[in-house]
């Protein structure tokens, strides 16, 4: 089919404006598909460059090996220390950050006067906008020496320092998402509870919070995603040694393992770093799936 036939068949010949409109439609469709394409490219590249090393090293040895010695004469590539550090670090950050974020969100959504809320929203915006390297820098100069002196450990660059930094870094997203969820609870629920004789505080915690449950879970899962993906700040405070995790030991996370060796890596070591990124990516995808479930679950109710 030649071009002229095609144009006539679609009715473009008599109507050049329609041709232009359809072309523009096509352009916008392509722009829309850039996001889809990016996700595909990222996934494909990570799998293609991450799988070979996992197969070469052996999946069990790679995932459950407890020793990482990538530059040794007989290199060993066990990433269990990184996986566990990422899990412990994230869990620690959630345990510290979520309660603070949750109570702050309840206060801002329900108790705070309008002026206080506006000021706090600005505070949280700033907290969210501070670059992670600045958190790392402050952690390096305050937390690390602080932990060394306070707990009498030889080096303050520990898992504990990383947990504190991560807890601070997830606060803004935990607060913002819970805040939105709490504000979306219909006023009638609260009024009914107040009419039954509950105090305002009881109403907030026993009626509003349960009603906003799925939003608050979303906030926690989002916090987990933030914490597990953070690299630069914890690279500066966690000491960056491939130990099994312990609260007062220098540790290395999945993210920092990639970041710290990438610049000088080669051969199997480099491939193994891509494999670590692939493992991290799978964690993030799992978290995304949970987020999606929470969202659709919240809508169905």
């Amino acid at each position: 089919m030649n071009l002229r036939q095609f144009l006539a068949e679609k009715g473009y010949k008599d109507n050049p404006r329609r041709l232009a409109e359809d072309l523009i439609h096509l352009v916008f469709l392509v722009l829309g598909l850039v996001a889809v394409g990016s996700v595909l490219v990222i996934t494909i590249y990570l799998v293609v460059s991450g799988l070979p090393a996992i197969i070469k090293i052996g999946p069990v040895e790679f995932l459950f090996g407890t020793r990482w010695a990538s530059t040794a004469a007989e290199p060993e590539f066990g990433i269990l220390p990184f996986i566990l550090t990422s899990i412990y670090g994230t869990a620690g950050a959630i345990i510290i950050g979520v309660p603070i974020g949750f109570f702050a969100a309840v206060y801002l959504a329900k108790i705070a006067p309008k002026k206080v809320r506006d000021a706090m929203e600005l505070c949280i915006g700033v907290l969210a906008g501070i670059p992670s390297v600045v958190y790392g820098l402050v952690g390096m100069t305050i937390l690390v020496p602080g932990i060394r002196i306070l707990f009498g450990v030889p080096d303050g660059a520990t898992l504990l320092a990383a947990i504190v930094v991560l807890a601070v870094m997830i606060l803004p997203s935990v607060i913002n998402v819970s805040l939105t969820a709490l504000q979306a609870v219909p006023r009638e629920y609260e009024e009914a509870s107040l009419a039954l004789g509950a105090t305002s505080t009881e109403t907030y915690f026993r009626v509003t919070v349960p009603a906003a449950k799925s939003g608050i879970f979303t906030a926690i899962v989002l916090g987990i995603g933030r914490a597990i993906g953070e690299a630069m700040a914890i690279m500066m405070v966690a000491g960056n040694v491939a130990n099994m995790p312990s609260i007062f030991r220098s540790v290395r996370f999945l993210t920092t393992a990639v970041a710290s060796e990438m610049s000088y890596s080669s051969g199997l070591q480099r491939e193994a770093l891509f494999s670590i990124a692939l493992v991290l990516f799978l964690f993030i995808m799992l978290i995304n799936a949970v987020l999606n479930m929470l969202k659709t679950g919240g809508k169905n109710k």
């Binding site: 309660p99 206060y107 600005l122 402050v138 100069t141 690299a231 993210t255 990639v258 970041a259 991290l280």
Partner: protein, 286 residues
Amino acid sequence: MIERISGKRRAWCGMMRAFCYVSVGIVTILTAFMILYVLSRGLPHITGQLLFTVPSMLRNTIGILPDILNTIYIVIAALVIVLPIGVGAAIYLNEYATNRKVVEAIEFAAETLSGIPSIIYGLVGMLVFCQFCGLGTSLLAGALTLVIMNLPTIMRTTQESLKTVPESYREGAFALGAGKWRVIRTVVLPTCINGIITGCILAIGRILSESAALLFTAGFAHNLNGFIKGLSSAGATLTVALYVYASERGEFDIAFAIAAILMILTVIINLLTSYMGRLMKRRNGQ
């Protein structure tokens, strides 16, 4: 009314309220501490020499002019590329799309992109832009990586403001005989310009604070270049320079000076976004 509730209930209420106040107190003190500490340690070290010179081995001085310029270049390059794509994608979703499946796929992709950690962007950016596309370690490769990172931000803010454009505007224009593209160009887009600007400000904030994605894509050179030459050669942005000076060279004074600059920019960006938010709310209220 208060007197009639039992002591146990009153204690519980008091405790919960106390938790609230303590938590908000912690957040406030934390923010105030971060700002004051960084400014107090950084501001004294911001000198003319730091801001307007290049690092010199001979005189043993450090200047961050190249890093400042690199940051500006990368912000401009990333925005110029991401704006058409992001706004276009949002227009497609809101104005053109009829196929539910395609819309879902695009929205799912955007959500996935916003959850991917920056270190993974850095890695894939290095593989795709630096190696596969042959750009090498350069600001352009870094900017392209940032484009993908910021795509969801621009898409979301544009889409939100497209949704607030009243359907009657479009119908009025259509009734006058305008084609779809003309309606979008002359009626829809001008109405939601504030949303697009907000998206830009948010994206600038994210680009300024990004470091992990740039480490392997844009590198950490401190050379003074013009815009075009700068884009094709490696260069550190302010955040990357901060990291290098703090962690690898132990120059904490310089690091804090950069941190103070970044902190001031963060505060300005937040004031701008909240101003834009109020502006949009007022306009939508009318």
